[in-house]
């Protein structure tokens, strides 16, 4: 009763009324709002230094405007384009390899009858997700070490000379992607498990009556059932195609593999922050943010059409 009466009145009241009525709610939410303003929106304002010649002694506002100088500079820089290419390639290969894995895993696990086995494997499968990036890269270095690593010991059984996995550019992407699969498959599969349990059981029963085999059921019921979530996940990943994990890259790269291992994020860090080329770094960062933004909006549009679910 009260609620409906209120909502009737609400339409006529001004902002002050709500501020007064819910002042405490506004006060509470002001904490995250201020926090987000400082740590997310202020940096967005800081983007202006991409158009200035940033001088740390005088600060952002007093630095001289230089227009699009830094954009011109990096767009005509072959190093930047190499980094850009590396980022795209690493992301796309990663996408192609690591998208199907959790789907296979979820489908296979779904076919298992024993709940105990199912639970055990599932529990083990997302353990790697909780291993920190530093630990994981440390483990990679150990396993792939040319002198003491297990992989090279196994290779030597077949009389294959030791391979310097971490020191050869051609292995970088493989290792990056394989370790990503190791770490992420179990975790990503959770989404698909959720989708699988939501599939109407009656559909399966109907299929049984129609005499469909297991394979048939998988193709005709299970897969279409999780298709929307597959699409959403895939699109979300496309939106993030330029966002290669800074941590993992910076930890995995060695000077000698830099020609494939340098990606936009690590380049911005090295050139912008460490190289003290602030304006240049910000310009490259802005370029990346804008592309990512457009891709995400685009991905969301398609996703909405495909599955009627928005990413946000």
């Amino acid at each position: 009763m009260q609620a409906t009466a209120n909502s009737y009145v609400e339409k006529k009241k001004g902002i002050l009324y709500f501020l007064k009525r819910d002042w405490m709610l506004y006060l509470i939410i002001s904490i995250p709002i201020i926090h987000t303003f400082i740590f997310k929106y202020c940096p967005m304002g800081g983007i202006v230094i991409a158009f200035k010649q940033f001088n740390p002694m005088v600060g952002i506002f007093k630095s001289d405007w230089v227009g699009v100088k830094y954009f011109k500079q990096f767009l005509s820089d072959s190093t930047f384009w190499n980094v850009f290419k590396n980022t795209i390639l690493l992301s796309i290969y990663n996408l192609l390899w690591s998208t199907p894995m959790p789907i296979f895993f979820a489908l296979m696990l779904n076919e298992v009858r024993s709940t105990r086995f199912k639970k055990t494997i599932q529990t083990i499968s997302y353990l790697p997700y909780f291993v920190s990036t530093v630990v994981m890269v440390g483990i990679i270095f150990q396993i792939l070490s040319p002198t003491t690593g297990i992989v090279n010991h196994i290779l030597s059984l077949f009389h294959i000379p030791p391979i310097m996995f971490m020191g050869e550019s051609k292995w970088f992407r493989t290792i990056y992607i394989a370790s990503g699969i190791w770490q992420g498959t179990g975790y990503s599969a959770i989404m698909y498990f959720a989708a699988l349990t939501n599939i109407d059981q009656e559909l399966y029963e109907a299929a049984n009556i129609d005499g469909a085999g297991r394979w048939g059921r998988m193709i005709h019921i299970t897969l279409p059932g999780i298709m929307p979530i597959i699409a959403v996940m895939f699109l979300l990943n496309i939106g993030n195609v330029l966002q290669v994990s800074f941590e993992k890259v910076i930890l995995m790269q060695k000077p000698i593999t830099i020609d494939v291992a340098e990606v936009i994020n690590s380049y911005v860090y090295k050139r912008g922050l460490v190289g003290m080329d602030y304006s240049y770094g910000t310009a490259v960062g802005l370029f990346q943010s804008i592309i990512s933004f457009v891709l995400l909006i685009f991905a969301n549009k398609i996703s909405k059409k495909l599955s009627e679910t928005s990413l946000w």
């Binding site: 083990i124 291993v131 530093v134 890269v137 440390g138 085999g213 922050l273």
Partner: protein, 296 residues
């Protein structure tokens, strides 16, 4: 309705179970391998004899790791950062989630958009760094705990959870004269205990594992958390951080220990707490993800 399994199905089941088991082993193996290495004798490691269990078992590597000042101090740092950081996370996320779960809040959509937009677009590394530095957070605990206090993803999970609390409870409390803050802390938060348990664990693990902020914002070695020290030891290979002089450690290696032992032992020591809480985490994990999946 029991259906006779055909031969084909049996073969399928067999390979299915086999492959899944292999996958499970693959997930665990690297951790087992590192553990085995950390306890093994140097000659066994060099000869490639270690692959599953320790060969020439000894605890020397752990003795060095646990008597190293840098590692112990960074352990303490990590515990402090994790505790403080998690508290900030919970506070900020709650303060965003609760008001947003109220339908009557004017401007709710604007606020939602305000938060969600930050996922889509960011100022980038350099401007963020400048903001943190300008606040005087550079090289302080605040740099690793405050900037990441807000998490839109977990905020949505928590908000969804709050939305499921029946409105009647709030109405009753209002009649009792409770304020919004009181309702949030005395009614909603206690009712959401399970989700808070899950969030606490996630945030804590996140802080324990986090490397990026400390790597960027901390410069004083005495303030480094574990992950940064681990990076120095395992990846940048400054083994002498382990309290042994270059000469001394070389001497040691010629006998029983190899730098590999120490690296593996350090990895295990850093990972141990995570492995210890894992059984609790994984219980909440799927549930938490599901709630996120509904909306996220």
């Amino acid at each position: 309705m029991k259906i006779q399994r055909s031969m084909g199905e049996k073969i399928f089941d067999f390979f299915n179970i086999l492959l899944l088991s292999l996958f499970g082993l693959l997930c665990l193996y690297p951790i087992i391998y590192i553990t085995a290495m950390s306890f093994s004798d140097s000659w066994a490691i060099l000869e490639g004899k270690v692959w599953l269990y320790p060969v020439g078992f000894h605890l020397d590597a752990y003795e060095i790791v646990f008597s190293d000042g840098n590692i112990l101090r960074s352990y303490l740092n990590t515990i402090i950062y994790t505790t403080v950081g998690t508290l900030f996370n919970l506070t900020v996320v709650t303060c965003a989630a609760y008001p947003l779960s109220k339908k009557r809040l004017k401007g709710k959509h604007f606020f939602s958009l305000y938060f969600v937009f930050t996922i889509l677009f960011s100022g980038g590394l350099v401007p963020t760094f400048l903001v943190v530095q300008k606040l005087g957070f550079y090289n302080t605990i605040w740099a690793v705990t405050v900037p990441g206090a807000m998490s839109v993803f977990y905020m949505i999970i928590l908000r969804t959870n709050f939305e499921q609390v029946p409105d009647a409870l709030e109405e009753a409390a209002v009649i009792d004269g409770m304020s919004d803050f009181g309702i949030m802390t005395k009614i909603y938060m206690p009712l959401s205990k399970p989700i808070y348990a899950a969030l606490t664990l996630f945030f804590a693990i996140g802080h324990w594992n986090s490397f990026f902020n400390a790597f960027i914002y901390l410069q004083d070695k005495s303030k480094f958390p574990l992950q940064v020290i681990l990076k120095e030891i395992v990846i940048a290979n400054t083994m002498n951080d382990l309290g042994t002089s270059a000469v001394g450690s070389s001497a040691m290696e010629a006998t029983k220990l190899l730098s590999e032992n120490l690296k593996c032992a350090t990895i295990i020591v850093v990972m141990l707490p995570i492995m210890a809480v894992y059984p609790f985490v994984q219980k909440h994990f799927v549930k938490g993800m599901m709630i996120g999946a509904v909306k996220g």
